[in-house]
Amino acid sequence: MAAADSPSAALRRDLCSRGIRLAGKMRADVVDLLDAYVEQQGLDASASVAAVEGVPLAAVERWDEQTGTQRLLENLVAYRAFRALLAQMLEEQREQLGEADAGLGRALAAVLLQVSAFVYHLEELLRLESRGIPGEEGDGPPPPPRLSLFEQKLRGLGVLRELAQWAVRSVRDLRQLAKPSPATGAAPGLAESP
């Protein structure tokens, strides 16, 4: 450990620990939401869902070799996408079921709020590293064609499953970020240029 922790290093560590707690809570809530979603939508929990277009996959090769900046940027892109996807799911939910599934709607809204908070948190971390925050690309890909009810439900399953995976990955990513680098006291990878 460096003899004196720089203020920015201390702030980074603080942001990382808060982010870890946020991601941990988010994951727990997403897992609960997944159970409720599967039950109320009448789905089979073990159903394989093909990768849906627009849903960011948490799967990554050579995860341990990623730089800190890569981690933050990939997380940011993913959670921004989830923010849009969850908002869409919430709207579909309200259209489909109205009052009948208020509980599910509330749970979805709560997770959406946490995802938005996490996006903000990631932007803070990037700002700390004086990294430019990539602008959001308008509305992203063009809105997908209207799906059937069943297709909507399956896509929702895919979104939530992938989000649960991302939440675990984010915790690991932030732990890597929080590690002090031996020489400079800065987190590894963040000092390197991409």
Binding site: L57, A58, A59, V60, W63, Q165, V168, R169, R175
Partner: protein
């Protein structure tokens, strides 16, 4: 020519004596011992409903010349039952291993083939030298929602069987139990025990993938365990131990975020600190030296020379019988 012949338990086996005619005069031996003619049909050897003990070397000799005409190694066994397969990651995030065994022996050689598919990708499971029935895979991707499908096929000369396991990356994560569990009493604290342990050495990166722990403890004399879950750290002080009672203590580990708990660690025993009773130590020492050397009935003044069970009489006149003897002895001396 010698070769191996595999047959199922319970099968009827007919052995021909090579190219000899059916009506040729031959002698069959099993492991060097002549086989009774009742088992022969012409020159054919008939073994009905074979059992495991009939495995061995069977030889056929021409009657008169005693030339060896045929030899075979009969191995009686069974086709494989469905194998038992288990996959686990005790070294996450490096990879996982699968191990297998047969529920019942086949008594003949078996070969195993394992295939691992992740989505559409075939992965190679490298066989371990030791133990034999085990192979390991390195993770290429992490955090994938796509399941792994592992198929194990076992084949032998009498048949084949297989089993399939499907799981996702997180579900099979199960660390090895914590190591070097130590429990010590805490000086001057009769209700405390200090427990410490280490991360299992197979867990590659406890800093990035921290483990959480579960401690259980009970006094040996009770069946009910106390439990404590610890989200970090590799030590804990028990503060509610029963004074003077020996405890049994175990620890288990789990990744903080995913997977299942390890098996319990090796159990350790410890007893909380107790104060040494000082007065008993001194009296005991004196009693020992006195009784060894003296022949008089004089008892040392501080020693308790009778217990409650030996009291005679009651109230103020209660006298223990040992004391009575001493008084009587003195009386005799002074008469």
């Amino acid at each position: 020519d010698s070769h191996i012949q595999y047959e199922r338990v319970g099968a009827d086996v007919t052995m021909k004596c090579g190219s000899m005619d059916w009506d040729a005069a031959v002698t069959w031996t099993a492991n060097g011992t002549d086989i009774d003619e009742s088992h022969l049909n012409g020159s054919y050897l008939i073994l009905k409903n074979v059992n495991l003990s009939q495995s061995g070397q069977y030889s056929c000799y021409e009657g008169s010349s005693w030339h060896l005409k045929y030899q075979t190694n009969l191995r009686v066994g069974m086709p494989p039952k469905e194998p038992v397969l288990m996959c686990r990651s005790n070294n996450y995030p490096k990879g996982f291993y699968c191990s297998w065994h047969l529920p019942t022996p086949t008594y003949i050689p078996n070969s195993f083939n394992i295939s691992v598919i992740h989505g559409t990708k075939d992965m190679v499971c490298e066989k371990d030298a030791i133990p034999k029935n085990r192979c390991h895979i390195r993770y290429i991707q992490l955090f994938s929602t796509v399941k792994y499908k592992v198929t194990l096929t076992v084949t032998n000369a009498l048949g084949k069987n297989f089993t399939t396991l499907t799981f996702d990356e997180f579900a099979i994560v199960k660390p090895d139990p914590p190591e070097s569990v130590v429990a010590k009493p805490v000086p001057n604290n009769p209700r405390r025990l200090e427990v410490s342990w280490q991360n299992p050495s197979s867990w590659p990166d406890p800093e990035s993938f921290p483990l959480k722990f579960f401690l259980r403890y009970r006094p040996l004399i009770l069946d009910q365990w106390q439990h404590v879950e610890l989200s970090d750290g590799t030590s804990h002080t028990i503060t509610d131990a029963y004074a003077g009672k020996e405890y049994i203590i175990q620890v288990a580990a789990k990744d903080s975020d995913i997977g299942t708990w390890s098996d319990w660690s090796v159990a350790v025993h410890a007893t909380p600190w107790t104060e040494e009773p000082k007065h008993l130590t001194t009296e005991a020492q004196i009693t020992e030296t006195t009784s060894a050397s003296t022949s008089s009935f004089m008892a040392p003044p501080t020693t308790k020379i009778c217990d409650k069970g030996a009291m005679v009489g009651s109230g103020a006149m209660a006298v223990c019988w040992t004391a009575g003897l001493v008084v009587a002895a003195y009386s005799v001396l002074f008469i």
